[in-house]
């Protein structure tokens, strides 16, 4: 599965360092784990309950943080372990180690463009292809790098997207979109979404489609309402969130495919379509500082559990 | 006899318009009030006179006044302005034709003095230069320099504000002025000044003025006629100051005007209003016999010694007249002298202070005009019924 390979790549980067770390320092035990995450992490299955169930991590001092502040908190030493997203640009800084999640607590959050089926038909097959071509290039590494460029280097999402599409030959001009109805593309309210919006929009425009981009329309629900209300024709959503929030289906899926199929099924019934998943998954993950990882010899969430004597 | 402030009703007036005012069985009960503030009030103010309403607090003075320009509406009777009922007029229009000065003045703090004065002319839609001309005229009238026009009320003294208040009320040359305790809030010294000023002004403009006060002395000083009111707007007496002081209608009025009403009455007239004693003089150098003989003829035991220029030198007791011709050193110096415009009140004061000896009166050029003695003064009081 692409997703597992993705996780490997990330942690692979950290793995070698931690081996070296592990070789010369003997892991010292962690006391109570100071974990920072969005408030709801406390009660949602893909949060503390999951960690407790699958890794037996119980002794946690939990400090709720709004998204975006975890890295600051790690840097300030206010917390030891942060709940992050696997595609966060900050992870590119190399300051942090993402702990692998072999027991799959956090599920799958590969991205799928949600499109109103009606529009999809109107726009013709080329439309779908164009979008899927873009999606297929979006690996975790790529997404992290682009996020980093925007979040850390303050590059404009539009420029970043253009550069990426260009480098991957996705801007080659076409005429497929000529005369096709204009479509409205919405994105949710955080940087990764801005980038995605730009990626799809520019790729489409290159093919001659007329696209209006509505950035930052808000949370999943808002986006979902907007789509049903026809205010937007398409927006990029994460399969896990789609299932839980839009479809209200909170099962944990064994594989990425199961999750995707569940989502697709629901979508069909409600008049929209989920296009291909991206390689990258933007799941929650536990990250620690490189130093902390080295000190306690951490690679996976499991290590964390044992290191904290649990 | 004429009264000291009779100037108000003499000579040609530059202003044509002064209206007569008549209260006809006027009654006013405030909504929700148990008893009427004014029950049945009737009196008439001839055009061009000052009528002072005076009485204890709460007797209905302000009420009566505000009925005239319909700040409040009467509940009985009628009020005629130049024979026309005020109830027939639109309040706003009526008020523009009636000058109104309230105790707290109520200048507009956000407008310059000039703008304040120009209020009613503006309301009446006078054109610009007529208004400005009028404002200048009024400033001089109330003796404020034109420069003041640009100031704001906040920059004026209490007295100056009062004058502006009067000027503003006069702006449209109203035939009737209502003044509710216009000097109530001012200290005695400036108060007297403003009173004199208003009298001087009235001598010029000759308006019909209704003037409210609860100070009887102010009433006596200002009024051609005084309406003494008591609880419930009853008219205790309505008469000229002189009559009021001469014979008060009842106990209430008598107490209100004061035990010294006799002396107060004297403030109403001046030396010039009475016939002076003369002939009681001796010239320096004339034979003693002549002088003594002249004194005897007047049944007086002293003469006034005058010099060649008729200037009084001093008193000459007949006793001092021995054989020699009359000489300067025979005279005793004069304690005080009076002028023709000195009020009889002050004259009496001087006489009494000088042991009841006749008071020497001089003309403006300092020449002897005659003598005043106690008898003349009290006679004045007798004759003035």
């Amino acid at each position: 599965g692409g997703s597992s390979s993705d996780t490997n790549t990330t942690t692979g980067a950290s793995a070698d360092t931690s081996t070296s770390a592990g070789s010369d320092t003997t892991a010292t035990p962690v006391g109570q784990i100071r974990l920072g995450a969005p408030p709801e992490f406390r009660n949602r299955p893909t949060g503390l309950p999951g960690l407790r169930a699958k890794y037996g991590i119980t002794d946690v001092q939990f400090s709720p943080l709004t998204i975006g502040l975890q890295y600051q908190a790690l840097d300030d030493g206010k917390i030891d372990v942060a709940d992050v997203f696997t595609t966060d640009g900050q992870l590119q800084s190399g300051k942090y180690v993402v702990l692998t999640d072999p027991r799959n607590v956090f599920g799958f959050q590969n991205l799928t463009p949600v499109v109103s089926t009606r529009v999809l038909d109107a726009e013709g097959p080329q439309f779908e292809t164009t979008i899927n071509d873009v999606s297929s290039k979006l690996t975790t590494e790529a997404m992290q790098r682009m996020n980093a460029a925007v979040v850390l280097d303050k590059q404009q999402p539009a420029d970043v997207a253009r550069a990426f599409l260009d480098a991957n030959g996705l801007l080659r001009a076409g005429t497929a979109g000529a005369g096709k109805p204009e479509i409205t593309l919405g994105t949710k309210n955080f940087p990764e979404q801005f980038i995605l919006g730009q990626l799809y929009a520019q790729a489409l425009e290159a093919q001659g489609y007329r696209v209006t981009l509505k950035q930052n329309i808000g949370s999943t629900e808002i986006a979902d309402r907007a789509l049903r209300a026809g205010q937007i024709d398409m927006y990029p959503e994460y399969i896990g969130i789609f299932n839980s929030t839009v479809a209200g289906d909170t099962r944990t899926f064994a594989t990425k495919k199961e999750a995707y199929d569940a989502g697709k099924a629901f979508a069909e019934r409600h008049g929209f379509t989920l296009l291909d998943l991206t390689p990258f998954t933007d799941t929650d993950a536990l990250a620690v500082t490189r130093a902390y990882a080295a000190q306690h010899g951490l690679r996976s969430v499991g290590d964390l559990a044992s290191a904290s004597g649990q | 006899m004429t009264s000291a402030n009779s100037a108000q009703t003499e000579g040609p007036s530059p202003y044509p318009s002064a209206a007569s005012l008549e209260f006809q069985h006027v009654g006013k009960r405030y909504p929700g009030a148990v008893r009427a503030a004014i029950e049945d009030l009737s009196f008439e103010v001839p055009a061009g006179e000052i009528c002072v309403l005076v009485g204890p607090s709460g007797c209905g003075k302000t009420t009566a006044m505000r009925l005239v320009n319909r700040m409040i509406d009467l509940t009985a009777g009628d009020i005629l302005l130049d024979g026309v009922s005020v109830t027939r007029r639109k309040p706003a229009e009526l008020r523009r034709e009636i000058g109104y000065v309230i105790q707290q003045i109520g200048l507009f703090p956000h407008q310059t003095i000039a703008q304040n004065i120009a209020t009613v002319p503006k309301l009446l839609g006078w054109d610009k230069q007529r208004t400005t001309a009028r404002v200048q005229e009024l400033l001089t009238l109330v003796s404020l320099d034109a420069e003041m026009g640009e100031r704001y009320p906040g920059e004026l003294s209490g007295g100056q504000r009062q004058r502006v208040g009067v000027a503003r009320a006069l702006a449209a040359d109203p035939p009737l002025m209502l003044m509710d305790e216009p000097f109530g809030a001012i200290d005695p010294i400036n108060r007297a000044r403003l009173q004199d000023e208003l009298l001087r002004l009235q001598a010029e403009i000759r308006k019909t003025i209704v003037f409210v006060t609860h100070d009887i002395d102010e009433a006596i000083k200002m009024g051609d006629r005084i309406a003494i009111m008591r609880e419930g707007g009853h008219l205790a007496q309505y008469a000229t100051p002189d009559v009021l002081l001469a014979d008060p209608a009842d106990e209430f009025v008598a107490r209100f005007v004061g035990a010294d009403r006799g002396l107060k009455r004297l403030t109403l007239s001046a030396i010039k209003d009475i016939q002076l004693l003369d002939g009681l003089t001796a010239r320096v150098g004339e034979p003693a016999a002549e002088a003594r003989e002249r004194a005897a003829r007047h049944g007086s035991d002293e003469l006034v010694l005058i010099d060649g220029g008729e200037q009084p030198i001093g008193r000459l007791p007949v006793a001092r007249l021995d054989g020699k011709p009359v000489a300067v050193e025979d005279a005793e110096p004069l304690a005080a002298t009076a002028r023709r415009q000195t009020s009889l009140h002050d004259a009496l004061s001087l006489v009494v202070a000088d042991g009841n000896r006749p008071l020497v009166v001089v003309d403006d050029d300092g020449r002897l005009a005659g003598l005043v003695d106690l008898k003349l003064i009290s006679d004045a009081l007798q004759t003035r019924r």
Binding site: P38, P39, E40, N43, R44, S63, P64, L65, T66, I67, L69, Q72, A73, D76, K78, G218, S219, T220, E221, I222, T245 | -
Partner: protein, 235 residues
């Protein structure tokens, strides 16, 4: 509309979460208010007693209001890092001005004749302050406190974007709690603010000396004081 119904459902279902957040919320507001009181009231009273620094004392409240709470908190994050302390500092910065101004205006505005008489009867500066100026100024001072309390409780909500725990956590995290959650939390915050508003309104009436109750104080007067008093009594 049924969003509201869901909202109340949410409140019911998450009572304990909301309750804990409420406590955190009040802890934050309380801490900020406590410190602000210690700074603002003595300073304002002292300046007012000396009739000094009126310009500063009166205009500070407007400047204080000019500081956007969100901006202040974010700048706080930049300078102090995230969390309780940063937000508390921000809240203090917001709470001090209205209280300071009111305290000043209140004391400074005490009837000069009364103060004159007090001195004339041989009261020392401190006695004048305690026996005359403070009692007379208390209602207005309290108006300032009330203003600040409500303001702080309201603004504490924003604390959650800077890593402090308040009812705002729910409001700013729609991703998790969905619209009903957000609205539910909003309702709680509004209720909380109102409760304290009423509470302090009551207290204010209590501290008003009987002799003053008959004469009601105009909310604002024309003149420079307006900024002060109105400022004080608003927000």
């Amino acid at each position: 509309m049924n969003d509201f119904i869901d909202a109340f459902k949410f409140i019911g279902d998450n009572a304990s979460l909301l309750w804990h957040l409420t406590l955190d919320h009040l802890a934050l507001a309380g801490a900020a208010m406590g410190i602000s009181l210690l700074i603002a009231i003595p300073l304002g009273v002292w300046l007012g007693h000396l009739h000094r620094g009126s310009f500063a004392a009166i205009n500070i409240s407007n400047i204080g209001r000019a500081l956007p709470s969100l901006a202040l908190i974010s700048i706080g994050v930049a300078l102090l890092g995230i969390g309780f302390v940063n937000v508390m500092v921000a809240l203090i910065v917001l709470a001090v001005p209205p209280m300071l101004t009111n305290a000043y205006v209140a004391i400074d505005g005490v009837d000069r004749d009364a103060v004159e008489a007090a001195r004339g009867m041989g009261m020392r500066g401190s006695e004048v302050l305690w026996r005359v100026e403070l009692p007379l100024a208390l209602p207005l001072i309290f108006a300032g406190i009330r203003t600040a309390v409500v303001y702080v409780i309201a603004t504490a909500t924003l604390g959650s974007v800077a890593g402090a725990n308040t009812l705002g956590n729910v409001i700013v995290d729609q991703a998790t709690y969905r619209l009903p959650g957000v609205i539910g939390a909003a309702i709680c915050v509004a209720a909380l603010a109102l409760v304290f508003e009423l509470l302090f309104a009551g207290l204010q009436r209590l501290v008003t000396p009987r002799g003053l109750r008959s004469r009601r104080r105009a909310p604002a007067e024309v003149g420079p004081a307006v900024v002060g008093t109105a400022a004080a009594e608003s927000m």
